[in-house]
């Protein structure tokens, strides 16, 4: 079962939609799967959520910590700062 996928799952709602769109833009290998009420996004090795990409889509300031409100689950190591939220495997 060798794989190094990380994933993030978000509620499928109005607030999360631009975040999902930003993830798709910034992570070429992301695989997006819809289930009732939720969206699960898998990618090999790394997923980044960029503040700038989300702000561009919603037309207002956005703090990556706002992710907490619509986050359902995740897998991977986390790196968080003012500009991005990163999930990754390894160091």
């Amino acid at each position: 079962m060798a794989n190094n996928n990380v994933f993030i799952a978000l509620q499928n709602n109005e607030e999360a939609r631009p975040i999902i769109e930003a993830i798709e833009q910034d992570n070429a290998e992301a695989r997006v799967e819809y289930a009732p009420a939720m969206v699960k996004i898998d990618a090999p090795g790394r997923i980044v959520v960029r503040r700038a990409s989300v702000e561009e889509l919603i037309g207002r300031d956005w703090d990556p910590q706002e992710l907490h409100v619509n986050l359902i689950s995740l897998s991977g190591n986390i790196d968080e700062d003012e500009d991005e939220f990163v999930l990754h495997r390894g160091d």
Partner: protein, 513 residues
């Protein structure tokens, strides 16, 4: 905006780490007496990394926002009588099991993390545990609040906490959590934050809550996902604790591996209840237990353990058995409840023909061969008015406390029995996983409060089923037994204006003797 804005890292540092101080009147070992006895060596608490740099002000802000959203939906749900919009009345039984079995664990987690936070001598884990303790209190409160709407319309919701302390199948989740809480702080967070929340709870909260949405239960999916949004933080604490212990000292590695082995198996056995909720209790199904296990454990869990292999950590022992069992688990579990539903606080039923077809499609190697014939036989009895209830109390596994109905890893037709001797007494187990855990700490598990033993010893209101039901606060013929014969079903049909010709010919509940 005169002052320069702090970076997230600086802000976090100021708001958490800088709150700590070095004690001068008391020795640190006296203030934190539990940090050493488990054998874990910590040299530098400052090496603790806080992946989510959530400060207390941001914490309250986001939690308040989550609560506002949740309560808006709960209000809308009750004002619009949302309980009538679920797929069918059978669905509600999954919620009964959730409230009796899971919500009390949220409260236990609230207590457990308050205790763990007090015992860690580093400020990083103290803050994380404290926030989690508050989260868990929120979870139990929102669940009670949301589900109370169902209590006005359906049986079985009335005394869930009392039941959690007494009813036979609820000793499975109760003893799981009490085992963790009576361990030391490092084992507790390995058990709950890592093994349960990080590795296993996705199985409960993702497919099951998504399933609630699919079955029209807007309120449950909302509290489920609201709780789950905190869960990402909890899972991250779990992973951090593991990495921290592994990085601090090489001597910690075998201890951590042993805990991972133990708590993977304990957690997996607990999820038996979830497997049958997914395959049998959701009238509209999202995915099978087998598919969920493949997605969330084999795939995601596999990636996680590969990541941890650089610390010398391997996959949990007996994970391969869980994979062998994935085509049987939910069916074996549902059969237990069909047998003993006269003593359970929710209804059971046989799958309808269309559901049998779904099950054979999802379980092509096992369902038609082993389980369909059993259900068809039970259906034939039911049609004769002899719905089967098993009046012989089952032998329970001394460790996981589930009736011993699981089969041999390599033979689905043979019940798996294992046993150990300790101080001249013989103890029984459902699996090698449960036996190993016992053998490692027999002095702990010989004390288990096993419901069946307790009934036979006369500690549960009396030796007969009616006495025990009364002691459980269960009303016979109302909260228990076959769904087809239930008040829940009759009421549902009346509310939905559906013909009740089936319920006019009640199926007699016969307990064999």
């Amino acid at each position: 905006m005169a002052a320069k804005r702090l970076s997230l890292r600086e802000k976090y540092q100021k708001f958490t780490r800088d709150l700590a101080w070095e004690p001068s009147y008391q020795d640190k070992a006296n203030i934190f007496p539990q940090t050493e006895f488990e054998g874990i060596h910590i040299h530098d608490w400052d090496k603790w990394e806080d992946p989510f740099r959530l400060t207390v002000d941001a914490y309250w802000k986001y939690q308040a926002e989550k609560e506002r959203k949740l309560y808006a939906i709960i209000d809308a749900f009750s004002q619009n009588n949302g309980q009538f919009n679920v797929s069918d009345a059978r669905y509600v039984n999954a919620l009964k099991l959730f409230l009796q079995g899971v919500s009390p664990l949220e409260y236990a987690a609230h207590r457990g993390f308050a205790m763990a936070g007090r015992q860690f001598s580093g400020v990083g884990p103290q803050v994380a545990c404290q926030m989690q303790s508050i989260d868990e209190l929120r979870h139990v409160q929102t669940q009670i609040h949301t589900i109370s709407q169902y209590n006005k319309f359906f049986n079985g919701f009335h005394d869930w906490n009392h039941m959690h302390q007494r009813v036979w199948y609820l000793s499975v989740p109760k003893s799981f959590f009490e085992d963790a809480m009576s361990a030391g702080p490092f084992e507790f967070v390995t058990a709950i934050s890592f093994s349960f929340e990080y590795v296993l709870t996705n199985l409960l909260f993702m497919p099951f809550m998504s399933g609630a949405a699919y079955n029209g239960d807007m309120a449950t999916v909302t509290f489920g996902f609201s709780a789950q949004s905190d869960e990402s933080r909890h899972m991250t604490l779990g992973l951090e604790v593991i990495k921290f212990m592994l990085e601090q000292d090489e001597r910690n590695v075998p201890i951590v591996q042993k805990w991972i082995d133990k708590w993977f198996w304990r957690g997996y056995r607990l999820l038996t209840l979830v497997s049958m909720m997914m395959d049998y209790m959701l009238p509209k199904r999202v995915m099978s237990w087998k598919e969920a296990w493949e997605m969330y454990f084999e795939e995601n869990g596999g990636a996680l353990f590969e990541d941890l292999s650089r610390y010398g950590i391997r996959m949990p022992k007996y994970w391969d058995v869980s994979v062998k069992e994935k085509e049987r688990l939910s069916h074996e579990a549902w059969s237990i409840f069909y047998n003993y539903d006269h003593a359970a606080a929710f209804h059971s039923w046989l799958p309808e023909e269309s559901e049998m077809e779904w099950l054979s499609a999802k379980y092509p190697d096992t369902f038609d061969k082993y389980y369909r014939p059993r259900y068809e036989y039970w259906r034939s009895l039911q049609e004769k008015g002899e719905r089967w209830y098993n009046s012989t109390l089952p032998m329970l596994c001394q460790l996981c406390q589930i009736p011993m109905a699981f089969t041999e890893p390599d033979d689905p037709t043979q019940i798996c029995y294992r046993s150990s001797e300790y101080n001249g007494d013989k103890y029984h187990f459902c699996s090698d996983g449960c036996k190993d855990i016992f053998d490692d700490e027999p002095e702990k598990y010989v004390q288990s409060w096993l419901p069946v033993h307790q009934i036979y010893q006369g500690n549960c209101g009396g030796a007969s089923v009616p006495e025990v039901l009364e002691w459980y606060h269960l009303v016979d013929g109302q909260d228990n037994k076959e769904f087809l014969d239930s008040q829940d079903r009759a009421n549902w049909n009346r509310w939905k204006g559906e013909s009740d010709s089936d319920t006019d010919q009640p199926v007699k509940a016969a307990v064999n003797d």
